[in-house]
């Protein structure tokens, strides 16, 4: 047993120092040199103050803004220090009720809209912090935002197109619109 104990303990300590101290510090150093803005959280700075992160969604419920994915974090939606999905199963009555409520909110804000409702606009995201919506979900909201802001629909549509990304390298993921960046662009129109 003694012949096992010394190598076990000393190898454990040594490899812990390498993988638990040297390794993360080396990565931090390299990341600061190469991608410092990303390593710090891809913050969006407006008038010298951080207003959010390009990668982390925010809660929007004002009809003047594009709304993002429903968020199941608690206690408030888009709680970026407690990420979580809803974990509701497909048959859960709470899921059906929640989706009903979200559809009602969309209809109340935009009574005349009869387009089919995009699934991502009424289903909670996995992280509760999804920064993006599908192009269909943006299209669904363009007229509402234009009307509330008294803008031409085409102006808003152009802005949406500017903030839309296609599939990465043409094959990976899905096309998407960054909601925070789009809303900041809207605010800076005037």
């Amino acid at each position: 047993m003694k012949t096992l104990l010394r190598p076990a303990v000393s190898l454990f300590v040594l490899l812990t120092a390498v993988t638990g101290v040297v390794y993360p510090l080396a990565v931090t150093g390299l990341a600061k040199v190469t991608f410092s803005e990303a390593a710090d959280g891809s913050l969006v700075i407006k008038d010298g103050k951080p207003v959010g992160s390009r990668l982390i969604g925010q809660n929007f419920s004002d009809p003047r803004y594009f709304w993002g994915r429903p968020s199941a974090t608690s206690p408030q939606p888009y709680n970026a220090s407690a990420s979580s999905g809803s974990n509701q199963g497909p048959l859960n009555p709470a899921l059906v009720d929640a989706v009903k409520g979200r559809i009602d909110a969309l209809k109340t804000a935009d009574p005349g809209n009869s387009k089919p409702i995009p699934a991502d606009l009424v289903n909670a995201s996995a992280s509760g912090l999804d920064p993006e919506i599908s192009p269909a979900a943006a299209e669904y909201q363009i007229e509402r935002v234009a009307k509330t802001r008294q803008l031409q629909v085409e102006v808003v549509r152009t802005l949406v197109a500017k903030n839309t990304e296609g599939r990465q390298w043409g094959v990976f993921g899905e096309p998407r619109v960054n909601v925070l960046q789009l809303n900041i662009a809207l605010d800076s129109l005037r």
Binding site: Y23, T28, D40, S83, A119, A126, F172, G173, L180
Partner: protein, 592 residues
Amino acid sequence: MSNHAWILIGIFLTVLLLTVKPLGTYIANVMEGRFRLAGKIESPVYRLCGIRQDEEMGWLKYAFAILSFNALGVFVVYALQRLQFSLPLNPQAFPNISPDSAFNTAVSFVTNTNWQGYAGEATMSYLTQLLGLTVQNFFSAATGIVVVIALIRGFARHSAKTVGNAWVDLTRITLHVLLPISIVYAVFLTGQGVIQNFDAYKDVTTLEVTKYDNPKVDAAGQPLKDDKGVAITEPAETPTQTLAMGPVASQEAIKMLGTNGGGFMNANSAHPYENPTPLSNFIQMLSIFLMPAALCFTFGRMVGDARQGWAVLAAMTLMFVVLAYAAMHFEQQANPLLTQLGVDPAAGNMEGKETRFGIADSGLFATITTLASCGAVNAMHDSFTPLGGLVPLIDMQLGEVVFGGVGSGLYGMLVFAIMAVFIAGLMIGRTPEYLGKKIEAYEMKMTSIAILVTPLLVLVGTAIAVMAVDGKAGIANPGAHGFSEILYAFTSAANNNGSAFAGLSANTPFYNIMLGIAVWFGRFGVIVPVLAIAGSLAAKKRIAVGPGTLPTHGPLFVTLLIGTVLLVGLLNYVPALALGPVIEHLVLWVGH
């Protein structure tokens, strides 16, 4: 099912298969001491630790070395969690973790399971994440790999008493394989947007003030409820958002590469700071299968017949393609209850999925992570369609041998290969042999233990939990889905996967202890018999290939191997699956 999904599977497999030979060769060279730079790096390590590099261990000593190294890990990770409030690098001043949760997490990370009852960004200090969890991500991966290397030596050696030196093996795989790949990988991830810093969490002023209902709590911090048991809330609002920070990229890299799967953040690889882009997502999927696939080649190389490795890899790949297709297909089906409300069914089942990944990348990720005993998630499996959620369950119940965890997948598959040649031997009445080694009663006893220990833990554990009050208390979703949540938890724990139907409230003493036991015996209840097989095989003479030898590198053997895996896996679990996802599917589509 769109062409896009097929293209994605095609690109994934092409890139993966291109890496198999170079990486597999490299691992074989490192583990057999042919890597030239190795001596200079290793010899100071051995000197400091009192390790004699040329000392060979028998299987029992090898097993004791592995067990003591891992037991040490449990104590250290447990202690770090219990003391973290008094230790440095805790900018959010997180309190010490409860004994049952700390036990569960310690055992879970040491066994490469990485089941998480806690929410990372709201629980763990940076020091615990680094010295406890990141370190175990390396060590548990190294443990799995050295065990399979010992088993391969059992096949490759003959008339030998030993299977290698555990200390040398652990050092080599960590320093020459896992560490260099992780460094490059982690820096790539920060390039995509994964954070890597030691800052306190950052408050930002959001564009819109967030209004919400805040649950009222009593003096003890327990939520207040009214007479009907509904939580009492009061209206609240906040103008800020607090962004969780931390050294995420360094942990993310080894989390995927080592098929660990324990997220820095609660939402795991669905969190934009862990997995920000579709490209980072693709590389994460690739890195889960990278080592398990390459080790198949290492196996072929070390036993002196590359075709043996390719045959095992072919069996894995065929099963993977079918299961990946199934998951992507079923998630493309929209929930009919929501379609009735006017939701456009074209986008498929988007509950619990991220926009940037959509259906195809979420379905593929779910298949890879559950087949490979990784357990990282980029979508919430609990919200999958009934049959979409059935696929991850089956993936794990096959025993985590289709690619499987690093090392553990291959040793599990080789155990099934022994079972397959045994069944073939019975059919023709010959003593079974595999790679020139006779398979006899002792090997078959150990094989049976290794194969049966996980189903036993899963089914008995699930049965106890559905009968116990504390077990049922954790259920989040009503009906058959609630049963699936419990079945998933024990399947995931005993097979050392770590993903969850995460609605289950598992951070309770009942689940922390039950699942902690399941992960420990699901790991070492397999490793010890596997090492016993290694020792026994190494001692045998090699017999020459004769006319009656079953070739184990052709399509016939691949078919036999797949058949054995399916037969054993499904016979164990079909009744349980019928009670969960199958009933749920029928109710969803026929009942409404």
